[in-house]
Amino acid sequence: MGFLKKLFGGRAAVQQLPSGTVTINQRGEVVSATVSSAYPEPLLREIGRAVLQLFQEAREAQMPLAEVSLHYGSLRVTARELRGGAIIFLFPQTALMPAPN
């Protein structure tokens, strides 16, 4: 038994969507998170870096933002800028949820 695993290389590569809250510092490092520990931390760091970049670009455009939301087909990422970083809320959008604003 187990020959199928050998043939197909173990688990299927389906990435779950993150759900929960992440706090990052001003360098984009994760300070605390309620996202499942199974979720890869490098991806959380990427989210943090992208969010800080968005705030930075807005400041450079002389249009400082306190909050930014990215609305995807299956995920909403809402970030609020804090003095020493940002707090990020991750909401997977399912068919049971109302349409995102």
Binding site: L54, A61, L65, S69, S74
Partner: protein, 357 residues
């Protein structure tokens, strides 16, 4: 409320504010002059106390003069407005007049002829008639009717052309009656729209006026425009200029009717950026491109599906970016903070859908 002798001067240049203060002190009516260095402060001051006149610069960081004028026109319709700017650009002059400013002066002209400038201001300060007429310069009657109807206004337009006097009744944005020289209804409207020049004034609405026109305004204006075109046979250049002009009026009316602060349309390639009611079009377009790119890259990494839009909120305004891709444009709209977050997407999509119609 005593508003007659109060002037608010808005400019981001402190030295210029001082020059204005000195010059305005020479006005015979001795007005009380206040100053503000940002649009936000100016609006806060206007909220706090009544003013008779606002003198406003155009190019300012964050909230520029056109944005301030858009807000002021909506919130303080009785306030007289004067643009005093260093920008020698006819496009901005016409945009300012479309927003209903009373005077547009260049700073260089003001310094050259201070007396004439002060005479104009004195005349504006002195006119206390609460129901004064406010005209729009260099606009055809069709433009004016469209503006009134798009803004869902109720008014009576009194149009004069030499000895001829006509009236158009507009109720809740619908043209319900027209009258000229004994004719009424559609025949009267056709006669009036054939006038190439004249003057107009807004009179109070008459909601009880009997309705004689049932066709939609757009249909009537289109018929009339076609009839005029057939008679005048315009050249190709005339046609293009008129179409551009109509398009500009339409877009500004849409922006005002929806209550948006500005719109920036970013083409997918390196094409020309379209910006309305803001001087910071290039900067905003650059942010829109960067934000779209950053958000799209992140979405691909997370497997979160296609990017629908990016929303942002600052202390002065909300933003909504309908992000385009390699083939479609991005559409960035600035909204006042009073617009609820729940309505932003719907309102932005509506504006975007109507934009090129």
């Amino acid at each position: 409320m005593e508003t007659t002798r109060k002037i608010l001067v808005l400019d981001d240049d402190a030295d210029w504010l001082e020059v204005c203060r000195e010059q305005l002190a020479q006005l015979p009516s001795k007005p009380e002059v206040r100053t503000a260095s940002t649009g936000t402060r100016a609006v806060a001051q206007l909220d706090a106390e009544p003013f008779r006149l606002l003198i406003c610069d155009l190019r300012m960081p964050r909230m520029d003069g056109l944005q301030v004028l858009t807000i002021v026109r909506r919130r303080f319709p009785e306030l007289r407005t004067v643009v005093l700017t260093g920008l020698e650009d006819e496009e901005f002059r016409s945009r300012a007049y479309i927003l209903g400013v009373d005077l547009f002066w260049l700073k260089t002209d003001m310094q050259r002829d201070v007396k004439l400038f002060l005479d104009c201001l004195e005349s504006l300060l002195g006119d206390e008639t609460p129901h004064g007429f406010r005209g729009v310069q260099n606009k055809s009657l069709i433009d004016i009717i469209q503006l009134e109807c798009l803004s869902r206004n109720s008014t009576v337009l009194r149009v004069t052309r030499g000895p001829l006097v006509a009236k158009l009744w507009i109720q809740n944005g619908e043209l319900i009656d027209a009258e000229v020289g004994g004719a009424r209804g559609e025949p009267a409207l056709r006669k009036i729209l054939a006038w190439r020049a004249g003057a107009f004034e807004n009179l109070p609405a008459e909601p009880k006026r009997e309705r004689t026109i049932v066709k939609s305004v757009n249909a009537l204006l289109l018929e009339s425009a076609q009839a005029i075109d057939e008679v005048t046979e315009p050249t190709q250049t005339d046609f293009v200029e008129r179409a551009d002009h109509q398009k500009n009026v339409w877009k500004l009316s849409l922006l005002a009717a929806e209550g948006a602060e500005f719109v920036v349309v970013v083409p997918p390639d390196k094409g020309k950026i379209e910006s309305w009611s803001t001087f910071q079009g290039e900067r905003l377009a650059s942010w829109a491109r960067q934000a779209s790119e950053t958000a799209r890259r992140l979405g691909e990494r997370l497997g979160a599906g296609p990017l629908s839009h990016v929303a942002g909120a600052g202390s002065e305004r909300r933003l909504l970016l309908l992000s385009g891709d390699d083939k479609t444009r991005s559409f960035l709209v600035g909204w006042p903070t009073e617009v609820g977050e729940g309505h932003l997407l719907e309102k932005t999509k509506k504006l975007s859908a109507s934009w090129d119609s």
